[in-house]
Symmetry: C2
Subunit: 395 residues, 2 copies
Amino acid sequence: MDITFAKRAAGGSESTLHRVFVAAAAGKGVISFAGGFPNKRFFPAREIGEAAARVLAESAHEALQYSTAGGYLPLREYISRRYHEKQGLSVDPDEILITNGSQQAIDLIARVMLDEGDFAAIESPGYLGAIDALSFYRPRFLTVPMTEAGPDPDALKEALTGRDVKIFYGVPNFQNPTGISYSANRRREVAEIIQSGNTLFIEDNPYGELRFIGEPLPSIKGVLGPQGVLLGSFSKIVAPGLRIGWICADRPIMKRLVAAKHAADLHTDIFIQHVLFRYVTACDIDEHIKEIREVYGNHRNAMIRMIEEYFPPEVGFTRPEGGLFLWMTLPEGVSSMDLFECALEAGVVVVPGAAFYPGGNGGGNAVRLNFSGVDEDEIDVGMRVLAGAVRKMTG
Amino acid sequence: MDITFAKRAAGGSESTLHRVFVAAAAGKGVISFAGGFPNKRFFPAREIGEAAARVLAESAHEALQYSTAGGYLPLREYISRRYHEKQGLSVDPDEILITNGSQQAIDLIARVMLDEGDFAAIESPGYLGAIDALSFYRPRFLTVPMTEAGPDPDALKEALTGRDVKIFYGVPNFQNPTGISYSANRRREVAEIIQSGNTLFIEDNPYGELRFIGEPLPSIKGVLGPQGVLLGSFSKIVAPGLRIGWICADRPIMKRLVAAKHAADLHTDIFIQHVLFRYVTACDIDEHIKEIREVYGNHRNAMIRMIEEYFPPEVGFTRPEGGLFLWMTLPEGVSSMDLFECALEAGVVVVPGAAFYPGGNGGGNAVRLNFSGVDEDEIDVGMRVLAGAVRKMTG
């Protein structure tokens, strides 16, 4: 017997993201700045329990049976209304597909867009879950460096010129991993560059509602129309364990996404879609979001304060206006892989920068730090550990 | 703007299975023999509600947070124990991956096994969900005709000889769509043929616990070891809306499946995995299975009785020993697509046989009939409608 695997699985190694998750989830007593974990203290467990009880009392026959691939219509209508009310965006419920978190959204888009060898552009550094998902379709990656105001427009233009680039994946609000947001001006520039070609823009927005500073900026898909798809998720504002995200896409793409979703797993857990709908309509989700936004904002401030206080001044870092992450750049010559190993020894987990570059080509002296999943006293202990390690490594 | 899709999505049509599901789920007042719907009257809604309440009271932090790709370990341990107790099969919990129903199991296996143009063998007629899932990977299909005792061994041997066939997908117990089970002897023959080459056998077993007649027969993976993967599901014995299935695979395949699962959607809804574990350990699931087995067995008997009573004698049909389906063959020259349309007009839904052949090449005079999702009075009304339509079409 000699089983041979598909080329896309030939390597056989577990994904980088998976290894980081395992490390992050592994030990009790570990302080984790890895992962993109929301703070578990704020999960609305009681409200979800009440919603579940009502769904089972009133709609069990529908909520436990097979359903259709697009997702629970009342939930899609709710998402549509919320886009309209919060952002003035007009998205028809039929242009929304419920997915197993945004991770599946990225996978399904790749599935309908990418043939092997196609060009796929991403931010650099970029979201490692997207790199993982896209990699399975064996594209040629093009990387567009992030500046303080979003992807470098000249680099983006150059990447998309003279070749057929199928997709550009970006996170305009509080980017993963850097925490950077595209400025209003940069959003316009990016939209113009996209519109001058045939590339589909994948606008991932899991953190948009978690803004601590400044005013919300408009969705780029709102400008691009059918040339953009917009991803959303309940993972960061309700609970990630439920695995509910969505894709907004215009009909020609949507009908292909629905067929792909159906082939991939028929549909997303319909019981949980009912439960989420009950929860968001019965409770004040804005009040809940306000609460976690305040907490994460305080964590972000604490982390920045501690970097300034504990770390050598050569350490650089971003000052995110929202979201879950900041990006720390170590002094030249200090390896973030060494820091990862050293911190892990001391019970602190970070994600080394290389995870955010296809093939690990970059980020050698940077790390991503999550401030949402930990509490302030843990941030204090963890940042002292990291600072000590950095000081040791810089001599 | 001119967006171009991947070749695998170029057709853009919704899947056959999806269209059937939509038709089946569409109207109230429709009698559906389509789909593979369990009977909603027997969903354990109260018990699931109690399990959900306990999970949220006791383990909300864990059950609502991100988790790892493989699935909830206590649930995998439960599945492992059950295999040992019920079938004497030895499957390590680390050789079990929790998926979003068996549909995702098939997709993930295809993802790690199939390059475009690879040969994939399936039963003929075969499960349309598998045809849908595999089709996205653009294999060359080989079809192995079903006989009354399972796939024709000579045809299987011929299909697997002289070319590199990556997978053979089959449903040994109460096959979808025919209801046929592989005989004990045929299981041995199939295993021997598989073992003489390098093909991976995908043994899908969603209905195995729903046997009405005769004694359970052994799993083929139990004989094949690493050359087989075994799929299971809670969809038919608990509730399909929860989307919980699994794959048993040996480590070289499993590590690739786990990486593929992680890239596809990080992990399956962990809250529901906790809930299911609570449910299966707190309640007597064997008693529940016994109850639905009796009901479905009665439905199967009623449907067969009505075929004998209402239909012209030229109509052929299988006599399944378990499961959810039987397969009806219409008189020569009677089109099952015409019957589908005609029955739909009268509020009765069946799946035309063509859905179970890649490219729709076959089954022109056969239909699949589901007897689990309907009640006996509906079976009576629906079968009279179908019989009337058949009599009209045969003149």
